[in-house]
Symmetry: C2
Subunit: 347 residues, 2 copies
Amino acid sequence: MENNVGQNWDNLTIAVVGATGVVGSEFLSIIADRHPEIGNLTLLASHRSAGKQIDVNGKTFTVQETTKDSFDGVDLAFISVNTAMSKELAPIAVSAGAVVIDDSSAFRMDDDVPLVVPEVNGQDVEVHNGIIAIPNCSTTPLAMVAHPLREVSPIKRIIADTYQSVSGAGGSAMTELREQSAALLEGRTVEVKSQPQQIGFNVIPHIDAFQENGYTWEEQKMIDESRKILHAPDIAISATCVRVPVYISHSVSIHIELQEPISVNEARERLSVMAGLQVMDDPANNIYPMPWGAAGKDDVFVGRIRQDASSCNGLAMWVVSDNLRKGAALNSIQIAEEIVERGCLGK
Amino acid sequence: MENNVGQNWDNLTIAVVGATGVVGSEFLSIIADRHPEIGNLTLLASHRSAGKQIDVNGKTFTVQETTKDSFDGVDLAFISVNTAMSKELAPIAVSAGAVVIDDSSAFRMDDDVPLVVPEVNGQDVEVHNGIIAIPNCSTTPLAMVAHPLREVSPIKRIIADTYQSVSGAGGSAMTELREQSAALLEGRTVEVKSQPQQIGFNVIPHIDAFQENGYTWEEQKMIDESRKILHAPDIAISATCVRVPVYISHSVSIHIELQEPISVNEARERLSVMAGLQVMDDPANNIYPMPWGAAGKDDVFVGRIRQDASSCNGLAMWVVSDNLRKGAALNSIQIAEEIVERGCLGK
C-alpha cells in the first residue's frame, strides 16, 4: 500500500501527540521506515516532556508542549495519550481542520467515529467527522483472525483469554516490571507503583477498571470493539484480560465458534492469505507464536490452530502480536495510509 | 478430617519416592504439619540423590536409593517421579503390599485406578487395585470449582485457558526462570535448558508433547481427567495450557456452561461452601486470586465470578492454586487420609 500513497505524503503536515511515550516512539520509528518523504512533522507532548530532542530519519526534532494552537495547519494528528487528554485535544485538532487518528478509548464507540483495522474494515474510514479511532491493543489481533473466518461462515461465539504485556500500560509499567524482577531476584522488597498489584513473577487478572457486571473495561472493550469492527453486533463474546510479566506483545487464547463447521485445513488456508496475518503453526517442530519473538514485528501471528474439542463448529488458536505496533502505532499509520489513498483527508 | 484419622497414622509405614523433588519437599512439609505422629517414614529418590539428609519434624532422615526392595513392609507409597519411573516403581510397591498414591500421568486413565480429588470424589478410593492416582496440577482446581456448580445443574461445556507456573515442570525449570530473568535484566544471552523455549519474560503455549489433534497432552489431560473425576464423560471441554514466568501456582481462566442458568450469587454461595475452596472475589477492592499470593496456601482460590457474557447459562471465573500443594502433595496426603479413614488400606 505504501508504494501507491508515498507520493502524497511529502505534502502532509503531521502532528504526533504523545511523541515521547512508548507508542509515540514506535510510531516515529515506523513512519520513518514507511514514509521517509514525510513533509512536516510536529512532535507534541506534555509540558514535562517539552524541549526533549528526538531523532526521526536523521533529522532532529524538538518536542513541543501541546497547546490549543498546536494543530494549526495540521492535516493529520496522531494522538496517543490517556483518554481524558484525548477527549480534550481531539476536538481542538478537528476544529483546526486536522483529521485525528486516536489511540485512546475516548471515541471508539461513538456512532460517527469509525473504529478501524485497515485489513478488516478499511472502507470505514470513508465516512468520518474528523476522528478515526484505533481499537484497543488486545482487540486488533482478535479482529484480524476473526475476519477471514467469518468470510467462511458467520461467527456465533468467541471466548478470548489474554496474556497481555506491561507495555500496554506504558513505559512506567515496563520499568516497574524490570525493577520488581530485579528486586525479587535479589530478595528485596517489591514496590507496587503504576500497576494494581505486583507484576514481577506474578499475573494480574485486572486491566482497567471493573464494571458492575464483573467484567473489566478492558474485557468490555474487546467485546464491544470486536463487534463494531466486524459489523457483527450479534456475536456472543466473552473475555478475561490478564497482565503477565512480559515487556512487549500481547498473546490471546481464542476459542471461536462458527455457524457452520470449518476444517482446520481450510481455516489455516484462510488465515494464511489474510494480509497482515502470519500463520506460524508447526507444533511438531515446536513452532508457534510467542511474545518474545513477536516484539518488533509488524504481523499478527497465529498458531496452535486446531478443531476446538468442545464444539463441532469451533476452532481454537493462539494469537500473538506486538501491542505497540499492530496493536497501536502501526495500525494508526495504516489508517492514515488508507485515508490518504482514498482521498478522505479534510472531510 | 485429620483429627479423626490422626490416631491411625502412628502405626503406618510410609515411603516417599521423589523425596528430594519440589513436590516431595512440599509433601514432607505438609505431612509434618498434618501428621506429626507418623510412624515410620522412608525417603527414597534416585541414585544421584541418595545420601542427602532431610529434616522432617525435627528428625533427620537419610535419603535412600529406590530399589525393588524399598517397599517391603510399606503401607503407603507416595510416588512423585516422572511417568516412566512411576510405571516401573508402582507395580513393585503394589506387589510388596503397599497402596500407591501416584502423582504421574502413568495410571490416571486406567479403568481400575481411581483418580481422586477428595473433596470431589473421595468415595472413589474405596475400589482400587493398589494404585490411586492424583490428577494433573491444572486439572484439580478445575474439578474443585466444577463440582459444586454441577450439583446445581449438569455442566455442558467448559473452556479453560491456563497460566501455569514453572514449578509444574520441576525444580530445574524454577532455576531456569531465575537464571534467564537475571541474564535478561543484565543484557546477557539466555540459555534454554529444560523448557521447550525461553520462559524468562515470555509465555510458552506448549506444555508436554503435541498430539495428532493439535492439543498438547497437558490439555488432553485436563479434558480426560476432569471428565473422569466428575464422572461426567459427556462434558464438552477445551483447554489451552500455557507456561508463564511465575515460580509457583497455576491460574486458570474458566468459562463454564451449565444446562440451566445459575445466578452469580448462587454460584458464589455454592463455591463458598465447597471444602478446600476459598472465594476471593471483591473486585471493587482489587481482591481476586493471584499466583504470588496463593503460593504456600492449601486452598484453591476463586474470584472474578461473573455471568459469562457469551452464554446465558454460563459463568466466567478465575481460579488460582498452589500447584505443588493442592495440585500435587496436599491432594495426595488428603487421598491417604481418605483411605485411612475409610479403612481401604491393604485392599
